[in-house]
């Protein structure tokens, strides 16, 4: 999916990047978040709109983005969900 077009099914990678930055660096303004996540400002705004509607982030009056408890839980669920699949893989040793 085009990362600049969040729809009912957004790009998990972009969502994970936004949540990861907010989780590690704390609340920040949209412009700063755009630079840190290396997303275009327009794309970020569209994603934040979707994330706000889903209850993952909050925007205060100073235009600062906050990660909600729900956003954090969804991120943890995503990690667990992927680990459930990838964690079971057993790789054979392939010689160079």
């Amino acid at each position: 999916m085009d990362s600049s077009q969040p729809s009912s099914k957004p790009d998990l990678y972009v969502v994970a990047r936004i949540v990861n930055v907010l989780r590690e660096e704390g609340p920040m303004k949209r412009t700063q978040l755009s630079m840190t996540t290396r997303l275009s400002y327009d794309a970020l705004v569209r994603y934040l709109e979707w994330m706000k509607q889903s209850g993952f982030v909050l925007l205060d009056d100073d235009d600062v983005v906050h990660l909600t408890q729900e956003g954090l839980q969804v991120y943890d669920r995503l990690v667990k969900w992927i680990l459930e699949y990838v964690g079971r893989l057993r790789f054979p040793r392939l010689a160079p």
């Binding site: 994970a16 995503l78 680990l83 699949y85 990838v86 964690g87 893989l89 057993r90 054979p92 392939l94």
Partner: protein, 238 residues
């Protein structure tokens, strides 16, 4: 180790394995180049033999068909026979040079394959791992593993045959020299079996290793087929 780190580690292992598959896949393609080099050298060898034999006939040698060498010319009717016999022997150098050149060519091309391009994405941590998993073309990956398995097996067989030819050429002159002292007939079948035996004995560890690699590729394909089926059909609900 956190769950995120575990995911990143697993994806790193997966990508490293897929890089190796990429190399094996390239090996399957390079095998065609390798075979062309070997076949070209065999053609050169036959034309060289033909030219030398034509020269021998033109120079008054007595030539006849007879086993074990298909076409034999004696030097009884001409002088300078040693030089002409040596020229005939040079024809064997073509496949030998082609074998060594072919192995070098394959090795050089393999080293030029770009791998590890995923490392930048993985430096992002968990989001990078998600990106790599999302971008994977599973059907193409599974096809590549299949092709790699075939290519790897055939390449190894060609390599053994190549070493066999090389051993045959190397042993040919001492063998002919040796039996000329014993005054017995030349039997190239004995030399062929002897050289094959030597190659198999010396490459037995390599043989076991290569067999293990083919099994490892089988195992990787099984794991990834299971993973791709599960991952593609699963849906993450927010």
């Amino acid at each position: 180790m956190s769950e995120e780190t575990l995911v990143v580690t697993k994806v790193e292992e997966l990508m490293a394995s897929l890089d190796q598959v990429k190399r094996y896949r390239a090996l399957a393609r390079l095998l065609v180049d390798f075979l062309v080099i070997i076949l070209a050298s065999v053609v050169v060898m036959f034309f060289w033999e033909l030219a030398v034999n034509l020269y021998k006939i033109g120079s008054g040698y007595y030539c006849y068909y007879g086993p074990p060498i298909a076409y034999t010319c004696t030097a009884s009717l001409a002088t300078g026979s040693l030089l002409v016999q040596a020229l005939a022997g040079f024809s064997l150098l073509a496949p030998t040079a082609a074998l060594l050149g072919g192995v070098y060519w394959v090795d050089r091309k393999l080293k030029s394959i770009k791998v590890g391009e995923w490392k930048d994405s993985l430096r992002e941590g968990f989001p990078g791992a998600v990106k790599l998993l999302q971008e994977m073309k599973w059907d193409s990956i599974l096809d590549d593993i299949r092709a790699s398995k075939i290519g790897y097996t055939v390449y190894f067989l060609v390599k053994v045959i190549g070493y066999w030819v090389f051993a045959f050429v190397v042993l040919f002159f001492p063998y002919v020299f040796g039996i000329s002292f014993l005054h017995v007939g030349l039997n190239l079948y004995i030399l062929a079996f002897l050289s094959l035996g030597l190659v198999l004995v010396f490459s037995r560890k390599d043989l076991q290793k290569k067999y293990g690699q083919v099994q490892a590729l089988d195992s990787l394909m099984f794991e990834l087929r299971w993973f791709s089926d599960g991952f593609k059909s699963a849906k993450f609900e927010t």
